[in-house]
Amino acid sequence: MSDRDTIDFLATVPLLAGREEADLMELARVMRRRTVREGEILWRQGDEAREVLFVVDGAVSTSLQVAGGRTVEIGRAGPRQILGEIALLDGQGHTMSVRVTETTTVLALGRLDFAALLAGQHSTAFRLKRRLASLFTARLREQLRHLAVSLGGESAGLPAEEAGPALADLERCRPPDSTYVRRMATFHDFDPLALWGFLTSGKYVRCPPGRTLVAEGTPSSAYYLTINGAVEKVLVRGDQRIRVGLAGPGKAFGYESLIDGRPSPVAAIARERALLLILPRDVFEQLFYKEDAVARVFLEAIQRDLLATLRQTLRPCARLAASV
């Protein structure tokens, strides 16, 4: 594969679409090409991440280890898809094992070079963060679809009035103490001024336990951040109800629809009484598409939340697979 071929290939990768040719040349220079034979393991679940891989040709399968030493295939990946970015971004081990199912060519990008793509406050970094958010949202939907299929049955949905206008009748309240918010791991690394900008861009409400804030299958109209309390994300199929995540302090929910315009993949129901920061759609879009320090904080927060949610959603997958 010549440098020209590599650049032409990179131009077709959705995650990198729109990048200047000079950018792609720079990228091609630091990437390493590898051919991996059928049956080889690229990495095992839990291994430390050192690089991301762009699949040039061939195919791989991703699998999850479950109790009793069994392995369950969760998905497949092929040309122009990216592998290993979750573990590289959150610093934890790989979420799944990856096995090559037919001889595959990959381009490897090391940890530091990948981090450099996302660093700084320039348009290409912002664009890449937004694309990653879309990619992770698509992955999350795929994982949830997999889980829903395992549960069987149709989405139970909720009556329209129960899903209702979530914001209107919730009690408005004052913002929380900023010292408390800064102690949350989610916001540790943020510049205080930018964090303040983010925290003052929405409104605060109190929500009683049991209240449905987002209904599965209907578009969410806002981004929600739990400040106090907990909101559970659930899938309901027939008489089976499975919690796929719990949004405790510093965790967000309801934003998938705002990223990709599709209905919410899960319902969000307050498990505890909760104090929430709500950003209506227009405020969300403003922050998501702006390119300043506050938007950077916001995109970072979304990325961390999506990564944590992707990991959290794999846990019921593993439990369900273990019980089969």
Partner: protein, 306 residues
């Protein structure tokens, strides 16, 4: 904040979960992976049931306020015991002058003559305010036996008091109901005192034949101002399990082997190995029950709505 470990199944050398694995319980006392702001240096305790021992219905008991990693007696004993049921605990307390490190505060709690033991990972915030309102829910004879200063010992006395016979061997279902009822009592007493801040209650109770474990918190996500435990309590307190045939070393790794029906289960605050791929996270607000039956164990996980 403590770490707990419970095991039920095929005879398992105690040395394995306490010392051998790369995230063993003793290692979690000084280097917990899932609680990086807090250490568990306030003592160790265990109850182990060995069917081949004298009076097999009585567990072997060991407790010491010394650091378990330097406790030679514990190492010697652990290398000789292979129980079918084990409950062990390393205790963590806040780094303050008011914390009391004492033998009477060590878990698992076990009143002499009773068949149930308890270990707790969590803490009831503002417990001194509600402590004496619990008296009316505890059998007087059991209340008199509370020796320590912990909330956990009161939880233990409450659970025993919910049993038809606090000195008998309860069925697994009765033990599970007693645990859930205890959480309901605690919720109502907290409400009566206006206590509404996060209070984790990961509880493990056992009879040697059965285990009941909860992953639960009252008012999760609400904290008092300037709370010194905030960073520890912001994530929901962890609990994991591994279920299968037997826990053994294969190809250099400690793992639960396949087993259908299952014959062994380990429940622990953290996976006992840094590779957690064969462990499952216990869902928040849920209860696990496991019971020894002919041919294996019966295991159930259910939502805990109290």
């Amino acid at each position: 904040m403590c770490r707990i470990l419970a095991y039920l199944g095929e005879p398992l050398p105690v040395q394995t979960p306490l010392f051998d694995t790369d995230n063993s319980l003793v290692r979690q006392s000084y280097s917990p992976r899932m609680m990086n702001t807090f250490l568990n240096l306030a003592g160790f305790g265990m109850e182990a049931w060995d069917p081949t021992s004298l009076r097999p219905e009585d567990p072997f008991t060991y407790r010491a306020t010394t650091l378990p990693s330097f406790d030679r007696n514990l190492r010697f004993i652990a290398s000789k015991l292979a129980p079918t049921c084990l409950v062990a605990h390393v205790r963590g307390v806040t780094y303050s002058g008011t914390a009391l490190v004492a033998d009477t505060n060590l878990h698992p709690f076990h009143f002499v003559g009773t068949r149930v033991v308890l270990a707790h990972n969590g803490h009831l915030r503002q417990f001194p305010r509600m402590r004496y309102s619990l008296v009316e829910h505890v059998e007087p004879a059991l209340a008199q036996r509370i020796e320590g200063t912990t909330d956990s010992e009161w939880i233990y006395a409450l659970i025993l008091s919910q049993l038809d016979d606090p000195y008998g061997l309860p069925e697994t279902r009765e033990l599970a109901d007693a645990t859930a009822n205890t959480l309901r009592i605690l919720r109502s007493v907290r409400a009566a005192h206006g206590i509404d801040t996060s209070s984790p209650a990961n509880i493990c109770v056992s009879t040697g034949r059965a285990l009941v474990a909860t992953r639960f918190s009252f008012d999760y996500g609400w904290y008092p101002p300037e709370d010194e435990m905030l960073e520890t309590d912001l994530p929901f307190v962890s609990l994991w399990y591994a279920i299968g045939g037997e826990y053994s070393m294969r190809d250099g790794d400690w793992r639960m082997t396949a087993g259908d029906p299952p014959r062994s289960v380990i429940i622990a605050s953290e996976p006992l190995t840094t590779d957690s791929s064969s462990w499952l996270e216990v869902p928040e607000y849920s209860m696990l029950t496991a019971e020894l039956v002919p041919g294996g164990i019966e295991f159930e996980a259910r939502d805990l709505d109290v």
